[in-house]
Symmetry: C2
Subunit: 371 residues, 2 copies
């Protein structure tokens, strides 16, 4: 458990960014952003739960349905807690807080994942200049601190262990979904949380669909199998992909795998403070393009990782953002041949102040593993 002073400090930093960005009020819904600032959240559902952070010296206001009252009072640092009950208008304390700013058209920054269910009524009932909270929250969360990195290294270690057990379970005749369930169960046994939905265990032609999950295909000799999964500890995620082969790999499969693996290494080598996100993408993509498979690499090279599986920074060909110490993101080039097979290799890295990045997972990938 992180001490409440950590959250108080994060709120103060948020308030500084509000002032710097000309924002009067930040409104977060139940989300990882709420968790980042308070250590408290829940799934966003049908009941309004807002954390409102005005500029200093005003203090944050938590608007919550009654059933969260005890938890909010005992487990967050926020003192101004406003409860609403079934049958009451949950927007009333929100509109009061907006009015208390004393500005006719306040600039209000909205959580990127706030549901339309809450945002549309707000936009209709309040006068404000609405904007995205992302610039503030992304800036806050972009570089992970030492505590966050320690947690992500821990979940990375567990994830390597899960990959070892998952690979060991792959064999001719085994259904994809059997391995997918093993992955989820193993995270639980190791004290981590699996994802809500099944991970990717994609054999043969299913591997050519980057976001295929796992189905009833039985692994066959000659299948490439793409295993891609995430687990979390204390809210922080891992993300790993390996591609293995059942029985014997065809020459083309080996060649495709080698290109992907070289692309991965070329990308990771660029993950150095001062480089750019697009340089990482270009380095990885260049290997695959030079190998003649450029059009088959149909997605970005990577994405940020932390409290969310996909967050900033985006490792794409059009992102000039500089890499800074503490940034964590995936490097995951892939080649997809529809109807035939796919291959992808992924590790997440932490950018260091100096020298090469630290990879958070280290399950071997130098040569395609044949099981």
């Amino acid at each position: 458990m992180v001490a409440s002073e950590v959250y108080t400090r994060r709120v103060r930093r948020a308030q500084e960014l509000l002032a710097a960005n000309g924002i009067d009020l930040l409104i977060l819904t139940s989300s990882v952003d709420m968790f980042y600032l308070t250590g408290f959240t829940d799934e966003q559902r049908e009941r309004l739960m807002f954390l409102m952070v005005p500029r200093a010296p005003r203090e944050p206001v938590f608007v919550l349905p009654a059933l969260y009252e005890t938890e909010a009072r005992t487990s967050t640092q926020v003192e101004d807690i406003r409860i609403w009950r079934d049958g009451q208008d949950p927007f009333a304390p929100v509109l009061e807080t907006l009015a208390s700013l004393g500005r006719p058209d306040p600039v209000v920054a909205i959580d990127d994942v706030m549901f339309a269910r809450f945002l549309l009524p707000l936009v209709k009932r309040a006068r404000a200049e609405w904007t995205s909270a992302a610039p503030v929250m992304v800036t806050l969360r972009l570089a992970k601190d030492a505590l966050e990195i320690a947690t992500m290294k821990e979940v990375g270690r567990l994830t390597d262990e899960v990959m070892a057990r998952a690979v060991a379970a792959c064999a001719p005749g085994v259904e994809e979904v059997t391995v997918a369930r093993l992955i989820q169960r193993t995270f639980g046994e190791l004290g981590a949380e699996p994802t809500a939905t099944l991970p990717i265990v994609a054999a043969g032609p299913n591997g050519a669909m980057p976001h295929y999950r796992a189905g009833d295909r039985r692994m066959q000799r000659g299948d490439l199998v793409v295993l891609d999964f995430c687990g979390s500890v204390d809210g922080y995620w891992s993300d790993i992909t390996r591609t293995i082969c059942i029985g014997e790999a065809s020459e083309e499969a080996i060649r495709v795998y080698q290109l992907v693996e070289q692309a991965h290494r070329a990308g990771v080598a660029r993950c150095v403070a001062g480089e750019t996100c697009q340089a990482v993408d270009t380095a990885a993509r260049g290997v695959i393009t030079a190998g003649g498979y450029g059009p088959a690499f149909i997605h970005r090279t990577g994405h940020g990782l932390g409290l969310e599986i996909h967050e900033e920074p985006q490792i794409v060909g059009v992102n000039p953002q500089r890499l800074e110490a503490g940034m964590v993101f995936s490097v995951e080039p892939g080649i997809y041949l529809p109807g035939r097979f796919g291959a992808r290799v992924e590790d997440c890295v932490v950018v260091n102040a100096e020298g090469p990045a630290t990879e958070l997972t280290s399950f071997p990938h130098g040569e395609i593993l044949v099981v």
Copy 2:
């Protein structure tokens, strides 16, 4: 797998409701509503994925990022699929579709769970009268059809089995989280999906927080333990709560349990076509109020269940909505004594055209179970 004609029929019904409600275009994000109309969805993340349904005779348009193209073409009935790639403006095909309606201020109904990330730019870039898609989607999904009910009975049976195994694992010295993980693992073993987050296993004073999950408290003699969890099959959820006792229960705990259990039965007895949602709440709440614990029943009596764990109808004291055959919802009265203990009993029911409702779970609850 449901045949694509089912989805085509659901889209036609949606289009009828659009016309009846004066709506020109329905825009769904990746959500259960998208799944309901196409059999296809994924988690809503940072990439725009919209299903747009205009009134007949216009046809639906699917806007998707490139990596979903193969899946969308092979597994949905939608023919007009518009792909966007990294670096392109994902709103371009959305704005084109809006313009193609040929109306200056079209009425556009927005998915309730669309993220602000997509809605705020849409509201800024397009001129329309924005409204909630809920009236249309809730009406479509409110009464479950025979196929949906069969699936929900199946997941209910599995959920009873999970409860039996979870209760058997409760004993003095066992950590809450151990049982919570067992619940998740057992769903997987039975071929169902558990929830993303840990279920509720709340011992002693933790049971007084209705949305507490599970932590490191070890169960002690005299603890009431609230077990509340959900699992899904083919996208459809179950929801069950039982309260048991470790060792021996105090007299007050037994009295509180009996009130809750009687309230549950009183509520279920009202779940008859033609009754109202508020009558169910009043029946359950009346028992607890008469027993002197009214203020300790701090939430609604129930919520709808289906593709979502919380959906319509709401079983609250201010909902005059009539119960209709095919509606599925929970009846879950509870009593919460902060710092001491809590008790809740929950089953979900299907309203029948005639006679009493069918309970989807049937694990015994007549007397408090002492383990």
